[in-house]
Structure formats: structure tokens, C-alpha cells
Amino acid sequence: MALFRRTRNKISRSKLEQEIDAEIQSHVEMRTADNIASGMSPEAARRDALVRFGNRTVMRERVTEEDAGMVWDSLVRDLIYATRQLRRTPAFTISALITLILAIGANVVVFSVLNALILRPLDVPQSAGLYNVVHKETGFDNQSYPDYVDFKARNKTFRDMAVYRIQSAGLAAGTAAYQCWYYRVSGNYFDLLGILPGQGRLFHATDEHGPQSAPYIVLSNDFWHSRFASDPGIVGAKVYINKRPFTVIGVAPATFHGTDVFMWPDFWMPIVNTPDDEDTNFLSNRSMHNLWILGQLAPGISPQQATENLNAIAQEMARQDPTADDGLSARLVKPGLMGDIFGGPARAFMTGIMLLAFLVLLAACANLASLFAARTADRSREVAIRLAIGSSRWHVLRQLLCEAVLVSVLGGVLGTIFSFALLRGLTRWQPFPEFPIRVAVSPDINVYLVALLLSVGSGLVWGLVPLRQIWTTDFTQAMKSGSSGTMVFRRYSPRDLLLGAQIALCTLLVTASFVALRGMQRSLHAPLGFQPQQVLLAQTDLHMGGHTDKSAPLLQKRMLDDARAIPGVTAVGIIDETPLGTGGSSTPVFRTGTTDLRQSNSAFSAKYFSISPGYLEAAGTLLVSGRDFTWHDDDKAPRVAIVNQTFAHGLVGNESALGRSFLMGQTACEIVGVVEDGKYDSLTEAPWAAMFFSLQQNPDTDTSLVVRSQLQTSDIVPALRKTLAQIDPALPFVIHTWADALAFVQFPARIATATVGVMGLFAAMLAVTGVFGMAMYSVSKRFKEFGIRVALGAQSVQLIRVALARPLVILLSGSVAGLLLGALASQVLSHIVYQATAYDPVVLVGVMVTMAFLGLLATWIPAQRTLQVRTARLLREAEWPWPQARPVRLQRQRLAAHDRVRAAISPPRAYVG
């Protein structure tokens, strides 16, 4: 009931006020009548009656404020007043808004990406309890098909399990042909995830009847839309994948993009089928680890229970097949980021960037806090008047908070709009045309909540700073001396500490940017184990032309011969997968004489590649000793290998490895050459052992033709394309320079550099405005003091020293702290960026010059102001540096304030009550 009455009052506030007025009116009249009856003059009687009430407006407010519901009403009034205040100081409002838009916008962008890639579960109907089952060792995530079958059959903790692998192929429909990325998935894949068809039907476990029994594919909605113009007649149509016929049985719904958040397949194919002849062996080979297991926990089962269950099964399997399943273990990871391969670094990187973004926001808040505190100090007269005419301190504070939160929320809304525009661009962005990599970021309720929380939170943080100022305002003092008297300059205030921390953060980010940039620059000249300059790559998979491993060597030899004949070409060679490309398989290597070929008995693991004669020369890989392969190292000759120095050292120590043998599976290989070490998977990896086999002895349809020439890229590309088309017109090639192809491995470092750079720029801007604001303010407040100093004979240098000593000390100590922190932070960066270190003279000098420049930028104008001191004028006027042209409106407000003060002059008598 009370609530109802209060709500009703809220609605009829004006009516309530009228009633209060009427009630007071009748009270005053009765008192006046009684006073006259007791012998007072009419005027005195009325005055006495009125005075007893004190300030009538304040009292009326006190009556209405007894209603909890009225808080809303007064909030609206506060907001209107806050808007008016903010409009009156556009410089403050605009600088606060820009700061907040940048800081909150950056946070929303980073959080949205973090949310889309890491926090949000997969966008599938049944996403609860979904996990990838990987091995315990990080980075060793793939499973073999027989292991999957055993896990699936023997476990008691999963509702269901499915497998998938990612492959590429050429798809031809009618006259058009495309290179596609697709998933080969077990039949129960769609049912496990609860996906329903968008068009036609999906395949199920019941469609699988052994190898090559289900020649169906399901198109993704995007692929259907972009390649088939959303033609519903596609269901039932025949398409050719690597020249083999498949039937399109359906289209996936528009919301389903596969089970990796940033890799969107073009279509799905049953795993028992393959467009390549020999590629179903893995279905029965326990040692071929090339699958991702995706499982959904049974209801009521915890991930822990499931892990224990799977590990027990893994031990059992290792006992049954010690060679293939030696040391098999299981671990559950969140799906969507290819287990730990991308998940680990992505999580660490995104968390780091989120932290940086948050620090930038804190720096922004620190800036605004000092601005706001200065603004409050300048308004101390207004605050004093309001306190004097009966406003409570809490009310004044609420008013100021209202202004802060209003600006923050406005900045937050604008920042969010701005960041969504950016994110839309990010969603459309495809960093690599040849890979289906997408960063689809669509804001959800979490993002909006975080944006709101950050806006209101930051508003409260910097809005509460003047708390102490208001609580300690002594209004009689403040009214007398105006604003300048209230500002006390202590040696170092918390505000200075804030500024110092902010500069430290800025330096940290500037350092990190320099370290990352230096690393990027160095990585261009890093010893890669090959020379990518002046080299063109033509990459394809011969399967796409319907060729097999057996027919591949002949075709590859023809490609080499024809390419070498192009004028200007100096060397050619073929490798199956280029180092620092996308592939890069490793396998255990055994010493000769080992009989029990389980993994724990291996000497080490090594990367392996297949190369043609001449590849080493074309790639610019240095042959340290021994010989290159020749065309005589074919399948009839003894097995030979070329290894890198790490491999040689691992096998025979400091002796010569030439002529020595090792076991690769059951086959013994003789080492005929040793090459320099190189980078194989990433620029930041530790040295790997690597071995190269003869393409004729270890054939592969993956073909990267390496062409070195003196010609311009634009000259040689058409010639190369023409030559290759003559060999097999149906074979699609990706032709690019090797330097461009390396963009893939440099991608993480590039993203890291760009992000750190942008954050560094933000932080630098904030630090400059922070120092500038602080220096400017303190200079302006001390003008009178400077005037006296000049009058007493202070020279310019002395004056500047007095004025800018504090900003400079803060700048210097903040920079030093930031540099130290930056040195620590670059160790984190070294996982992403090649040879990232802060102990580099270029980095150190760069950071110092940058910070000095920023410092100069921030203090130049305040220093100029200091030197403009005109003694006589200053001693006369306390507030000279502030704008002279006060608008007329303010004048009117001053008069109004004056009236209010006069109304409050007659103090209420001291009564009990």
C-alpha cells in the first residue's frame, strides 16, 4: 500500500506540491491571526509566521523527499542541471567525450572479439558439455580414427562423440571450378550438434557403410549463397570434387559455420568418403593422427569424470597396441579454436590485450578525474552557495556524480556505436583469400552489458574524485575567497601518483610497440633456412586434377623442366609443403637397431618434407656438407635423406653424419647431405630437427613449385601461369611470391604489433593530455605567485623550473617505471614476435626519444604561458588566465544565486524538533 501511495505521489507531484503550499499557507495564516490577537502589528505578525518556516522551498523539498519514489524525480532534475552544466563548459565536455569514446570503444572492440572467440560457446543448438578430446601434451591434439572408435565405444561418460578433419579440394559445378576448404565428418556430426537442414537433408550415421559408401556433400549456406546464388535446385545436383562425382543432398542452416569459430568450411562430406583414392587408409591406421574428436558429455557428468574415464580407456588401449598407442592420454578442451593450437595463444593474447585495453580505460579515468577535480575546484564558489542555501553535501555530490556518469554514458554509447562500425569491418575481413578464415564478431547481450558497466563504472570512478573536496568545503571561507583560495598545493597528491602511473603505462605500451616493431623488422632478415626474396611459389594439390601419388612424380618432373625453360628463371625445385607454410608434419625418428618401435623409444621427433633435386638451390637453403638429391634417387635406389644440423647433432653429436643411417618407421635411410637449420612452423619456435626425402622415393601430390628468377614478379607470373596451364589446364594453382606466402606465419606478430601500437597511441594521447592538463592547471593557478616571483627578480629559467618541476619529475619517474615494466612485458611478446627484447639500443633510444617528445609536447604551451607573466596585471587580477568573455547568461545566474542567498539570510530559530 505504501508503495502504491508513493507511486501515486510521484505521478501527481505538482498536485502534492500545491497541497503542501496550501497547507503551509493555512498554517501561516492561523499563526498570523494569533500573533495579531496577541498584540503584534500585522507586518511583524506575518514576518514571524513566515520566519518560523525558514526556507519554504527547502522545506517543500524535504516533504516531497520523504517519498522514496521522488528520487527518480530529483534524478531527472539533476540530469537536466547536469546537461546545462556540461553545455556551459564545452571544452571540458568534448575532451572528456573524446577520451571516453576512444577508451570505451577500444574496450568494447577487444571484449567483443574476446567474447566471440573465447567466451561464447559454439553457436550450435546443443552447445552445453561440448569438448574436443585431445592428448595431454599440448600441441599434440589430433587423434587416429581407430582410437576414436575405441573411445566412442568404451566410454561411459559421453552422450555421443563425432570426428572431423579439415581439408581442401577443387570443386567443379557446371563450367565453374573453385578451390574449397571442407570438413570431412563422421555421419553423426550434425545430429550430435543438433543441426537441422536449411535445404534438403543432412547425412546421418546410418548413411555410412564403409569406405566410399556415401558420396554426398552438404553445402554451407554462405557457399550456397555466393557460388550457387541460393538456387534451391542445387539439392540433388551432381558436382565434381577433385574430378570425382558427389551429390549435394542439402544445405546447412545460415547460422551454422562448422565447429571452429574462425574457420568456416564451404561444405561437409562424410568421413568414409574421399575425393582422393588413397586417402581412406587412415580409417584403419591407428598411427595416423589427423582427426579432431568432438564429444558431448552425458547429463550429470563433470568434465573431470569424463577425463578420468577416457584416460582409463587410453591406458587399456596402450596395453593392447603398445606400438601405436604408447603413452596415449586424453584431455578435454573447449571446442572452437582447434584445441590448443590456436586456443592457447589466442586465449593468452586476448586476455593480455583486454588487460591493456582496461589499463587504457583506467588511464582515461585518471585523466578525467584530474580534469574533473580541477573543474570542481573552480566551481567551489558555486558549491559553497549551494551548501549555504541549504543543499546537503550528499546532494551536491550526487549532482557532480550525475554529470560524470552522464558524460560517461554518452561517451560509452558513442564509443560502442563507433566500435560496432569497426567490428562490422572486422567481420567482413578475410585476412587470407586462400583460407576461409573469418573473425565473425556479432555483439550480444554480454557485450552491451560490459559496455554499460564500463561506462557507468568509469563515470563513478572519476566522478567520485571530488568527494573530499566537497566534504571539506567550508562555505563561509569559499564564498569569501573565491576559487583560488581553496586550492592547496601540497608536494605530491594522489592525483600526481595517478598521472605517474598513467605515464608508466604509456611508456610500457610505447616500449612494447617498439619491441614488436623491431621484432617484425628483424624477422624479415631472420635466418629462415631459405631465402624467400626473388622467389615465386606455385602451389597446388595434384589430387585436384585427378592425379595420384603414383602418377605425381612424372607430372612434377615435367613442371620442373618446363618452368626452368622460362627465360630469366635461374633455379627451380619442388617441395610438398613449404616451410613456414600451413602444413608441417613431424614423426618420431629411431636409431638403427631399434626393434620396439614405440614412441618412447625414439631418438627425437623431426619435421619431414619431400623435395625434388634442385629445390635446395632454388630455395636458397645452404648445403653444409654432402650432396643434393639427383633424379637417380628414385624408388629403385636405396633410401636416402638430407637432414638439418640439429638433426645431425641429435643423431651423431659432433661427428660427421654423412653416410650414417636412421630408421623412419621400418625403413632405414642413409644421410647423404646436411643443410643449415631453419624455421618450419613459426618464427619464434626453438630449433627443430628436420629431414628431407627425395620426392621420387616419398611421393606426394601436394606440390609447391619454387621458382627463383631475376625478373620482376609482374613479368614472370603470366609466363609461369601459361606454362603450367599447358601441363594441365584443369589444375588450379595459387601463385604468389614467397614473401607474400609468409604473411600467414607473420600474421599473429602483425596483429600483435598493430594492436599494441594502437593501444600505445591511445595511451600516449592520454598521457600527453594528462600532463598538459595538470601543468596548465597548476601554472594558471599559480600565476599570482609567479607574478610575485617575477617582481622579486626571478629569471625565465627559474620561473619555468618552478612551474614545470613537478610535471617533469612525474614524467621522468613514470617513464623509467614504464620502461622497466616494458622490459618485463616484452618477454611475453617474445612468444608471438620474433626475437622480441627490450634490451636493444634502438628500442631504448626510441622509447626515450618518444617520451621526451611527448613530454615536450605536453609542457610546451604551459611553459609559454609561464613566460607571458605580466607582473603588474597579475598582482591585480587573481584569475587572469581564464577566459574573459563570460556570457550574459552566467551574469543572470549570478543574480539568481544572489537572490537565493538573500532569501536564506534570515536563519531559522533554534527549535527542538
Binding site: 497547507e23 493555512s26 498554517h27 518556516f53 516533504v63 531559522p908 527542538v912
Partner: protein, 108 residues
């Protein structure tokens, strides 16, 4: 521990007045308290009306506009059943406060 602040005692004075006279307007309450306390207590008008409004919101008193003996419109307050209970509570609290303060004074 009883809630014994000044506001509590103002509520008590108002409720007691209403329970005594049955119905009164704000000015009447002020006069009554002054008279009944032998001119020792005087209620500040600035505090009375917020208190009346709060008590009305709490449902302890009801109000209605009526004419006074001198034909002036005034808002008359009357106690409700909830107000009766509140009065008993407030009286008890006040007794305790007075007892406590007496004990303190004797002891010191």
C-alpha cells in the same frame, strides 16, 4: 536497543497529540505540544510537515481537508490503527530512553 533519536521523539509527540485530541491540523499540533509541555517544547515548523508527510506515507495517520472554527481550510490529521501501535512502541522506547538517561545521571 531502542531507536531513540530526535526524529523518533517528534513522531511520539505528534502521535500522542493526535491520540489525545483525536483530530488536529499542523498548526493545532504545534500549539498543543507547546501548551501541553508547559511551553517547554516547541516544534519547528520546518521539521513538522516533512514528519507528518512521512507518517502519512507510513500509514500511521490519515489526513483530510476540513474547515476550521474560523472558516479557514486546513488539513486535519487523524491517527490510524497502525499509528496506535506505533505510538505504543514509541512510548515504550521513550520510557527506556528516559530510564537509561536517568540511570546515567544518577551514576555519574
Amino acid at each position: 536497543m531502542a531507536r531513540n533519536d530526535l526524529q523518533g521523539s517528534l513522531d511520539l509527540l505528534v502521535l500522542k497529540t493526535l491520540s489525545h485530541v483525536g483530530e488536529a491540523h499542523g498548526y493545532g499540533i504545534v500549539l498543543h505540544i507547546q501548551k501541553a509541555s508547559d511551553e517547554l517544547l516547541s516544534v519547528e515548523e520546518g521539521s513538522l510537515y516533512p514528519a507528518l508527510h512521512r507518517m502519512e506515507m507510513n500509514g500511521w495517520i490519515r489526513s483530510e481537508w476540513k474547515l476550521t472554527e474560523t472558516n479557514r481550510k486546513a488539513k486535519y490529521y487523524r491517527m490510524t490503527a497502525a499509528g496506535q501501535k506505533e505510538l505504543q512502541k514509541a512510548e515504550k522506547n521513550f520510557e527506556q530512553l528516559v530510564k537509561g538517561i536517568r540511570a546515567m545521571l544518577r551514576y555519574a
